[in-house]
Amino acid sequence: MELLNKIFIAPFVDMVAAPDFLMQVLWEGLVSGVLYSLIALGFVLIYRSSRIFNFAQGIMVVFAALTLVGLHEMGVPAWLSVFLTLAVMFGLAVSVERIVLRPLVGQPDIILFMATIGITLFLIGLGEIIFGGENKQMITKELGIPTGSTDFDILGGYVSFQHIDITAVAVAGLLVTSLLLFLNKTRMGRAIRALGDDHQAALSVGISLQTIWILVWFIAGIIALVTGIAWGSRAGVSFALEVIAYKALPVLMLGGLESIQGAIIGGLMIGMLEKMFEIYWGQPILGGNTESWFAYMLALVVLLFRPQGLFGEKIIERV
């Protein structure tokens, strides 16, 4: 009886009794969700254009953030460090295309997937040799990112909004909007979508596979940098950030590997639902730490009913 109360009554009583706290939980979930969405977008873009599941997306977040902080530590001004980091990410995109992907064109998907695991291990080693393994402070103030918080006394309590989080949400929103405009309104964007829709047809009309691959890996690098700055501002920059990137996996399962819309909505859903579940059900009933598995469970439940994910394309093959 007590268990039923904890599942069906107490959480909702808590929500009504402390609406300010509920709003805080939703806000924190939204911020996490936006960052999950961003990382998932990096996966989706590469998958759409090349059918490669890029396992290296997580370490790209760490590598981009470490490069930025490392350059600044060497005395490079903050914003110049950002542009130089973008140049490094572009160099990485070109190198990946030339050294890893181009020789593997036509190989089975699993080989390309394994190649991205190789890229991950290489970047971990390179990053640790160059930047060391110590936790580094993100150059938040130097980049002009506002710190501090604004508290609103509402709903019988208060809700606190960190300026860093507001900035992260705003920048992520801007980046996603720009990406959508790029993909839908520009020639290059349409080429990426064409490759995603039909590889052979896109190649037959002269779309350059090499150029598109470099472009999408570079865009994934930009996304990695923005995510690295946002998350690094909250908790510092270390190799532990890589693990957070894998939270995008259930987002992809939920939203579909090929859907940009799915990555965004899936990320937001998982961010908010996992936070709600942890606070109102996970801690009181299961002792907490449910965020480690909740997103996967949610994604699995969705896959039971929609194997292609919420927004993925339903594949029907005639035999």
Partner: protein, 429 residues
């Protein structure tokens, strides 16, 4: 230059592995974690350990005239890799330093048959203090249970009756290390009538702790005790600042008192405390020797020799060096074997006079080990972050031995029964 040094270190380490089988001297490998999510905690500690041994090799020609081969085997704090490192190094090693509670628990039964002592200063399984059961394991100078007891005593300001009705949160890594203080804290909560709330942090959520701190905001605890490691600590402190949790009510274990973690929040972290069995003493005579023979000689990769963790690493290697010296003196041999090393660790006698001889006065409290007491229970100080650095804010605190010893006894016997047939150390009186 720093990057070059790191490249040189990486090369030296890889070359070191190849040279392991033919290396001369006393082989005392260290199972390090300079990589991975816990590297931020590991690097300064391992730098300190390595540099102390380098100092002895450079200044004194080793210990008792024998060079110490202090080779590193990288685990990334992974239990599987740690066990591999143990297996790889055990043939020639006189001691193993597993460097994680998870790895310690895995190799603990093996050391009985391999007859290699485990040295786990300030970490590992707390009941290892009972030398009658754990013949080959040593965790000086204090155990995690000692730490939990001292923190609770500090919160109570010496009057544990004042804890009645209070709410204390244990924010802990969801890992064997993070769960270590739970038995003693639960027993204390029952004995002193305070409410203990456990809030775990998953390994994958170390840098994503907003849910845990929302929980703390809702619970409004009187105190938060943190059993954190690696990237968890900096995130927790940042979240505490964000949640506006009073810093003077937030206390961490000794692995949650790393200068670099607090520098992330700077002034905002003022008042945060960490129990510590070591205190940096940058003016100590040993530090001057270290500067001459190691730091200025370009034989170190340390970035902050004044930090709590680096100097704790120095102290940890001092324990090992003292054990080696004690064994050499007792058995009259320079190149000791693991059995003799075990005797040395069982007869550590770190007095104030000895610390003065070593030029390390004030860096660690005096303590001694014995056949039945493999921890020493030295006590510890409470350090506080003043916005720029940690400084002691208490006299030497001592664990409640009367409360902990029965628990140690019961838990160590339970371990022996669960792992029967478990060889007991019958030689202890």
């Amino acid at each position: 230059m720093k990057t070059f040094n790191k490249l040189a270190l990486a090369t030296a380490l890889s070359v070191g592995f190849g040279a392991c089988a033919i290396a001369e001297g006393i082989y005392a490998p260290n199972l390090t974690y300079r990589t991975g999510p816990f590297a931020s905690t590991g690097i300064p500690l391992m730098d300190g350990q390595k540099d102390y041994m380098t100092l002895l090799n450079e200044r004194d020609g080793g210990i008792g005239g024998v060079q110490i081969n202090f080779e590193e085997c990288e685990t990334g704090y992974s239990t599987e890799k740690g066990v591999e490192c143990y297996e790889r190094t055990k043939a020639d090693a006189v001691v193993t330093q597993p460097w994680s509670t998870g790895i310690t628990l895995q190799v603990l039964p093996k050391t009985n048959t391999d007859m290699i002592p485990i040295l786990a200063p300030g970490y590992g399984f707390s009941p290892m203090a009972n030398g009658k059961v754990f013949k080959w394991a040593f965790n000086p100078p204090v155990s995690y249970w000692d730490g939990a007891s001292m923190i609770v005593d500090f919160i109570a300001d010496g009057d544990k009756g004042s804890l009645k009705g209070k709410k204390i949160v244990l924010l802990h890594l969801d890992h064997p290390f993070g769960k270590e203080p739970i038995p003693v804290l639960e027993a204390m909560a029952e004995a002193y009538d305070f409410e203990l709330k456990l809030i775990p942090v998953g390994l994958k959520e170390m840098q994503n702790q907003s849910a845990q701190w929302l929980q703390i905001r809702r619970e409004r605890p009187d105190n938060v005790i943190m059993w954190g490691w690696g990237a968890m600590n900096a995130s927790a402190i940042a979240e505490a600042v964000k949640t506006k949790y009073p810093m003077d009510q937030f206390i961490g274990v000794w692995w949650a008192g790393h200068d670099a973690d607090l520098k992330q929040v700077g002034e905002a972290g003022t008042g945060y405390k960490s129990i510590s069995w070591s205190v940096p003493q940058s003016d100590a005579p040993m530090m001057a020797d270290l500067k001459t023979h190691v730091l200025d000689a370009g034989k170190s990769t340390a970035e902050d020799p004044d930090s709590v963790f680096y100097q704790r690493g120095l102290v940890m290697s001092m324990f090992l060096a003292e054990g080696i010296a004690a064994a050499q003196a007792e058995f009259g041999v320079a190149e000791i074997n693991p059995e003799q090393m075990r005797w040395g660790l069982e007869n550590l006698n770190i007095t104030d006079e000895r610390l003065a001889e070593l030029g390390m006065t004030g860096m660690v409290p005096p303590f001694s080990t014995s056949c039945s007491n493999h921890t020493g229970h030295s006590g510890a100080w409470m350090l506080e972050w003043d916005g720029e650095k940690f400084a002691p804010v208490s006299d030497l605190l001592m664990a409640d031995a009367a409360f902990i010893e029965p628990l140690e006894m019961a838990e160590s016997m339970a371990y022996a029964e669960a792992n029967a047939p478990w060889p007991m150390n019958e030689s202890c009186e």
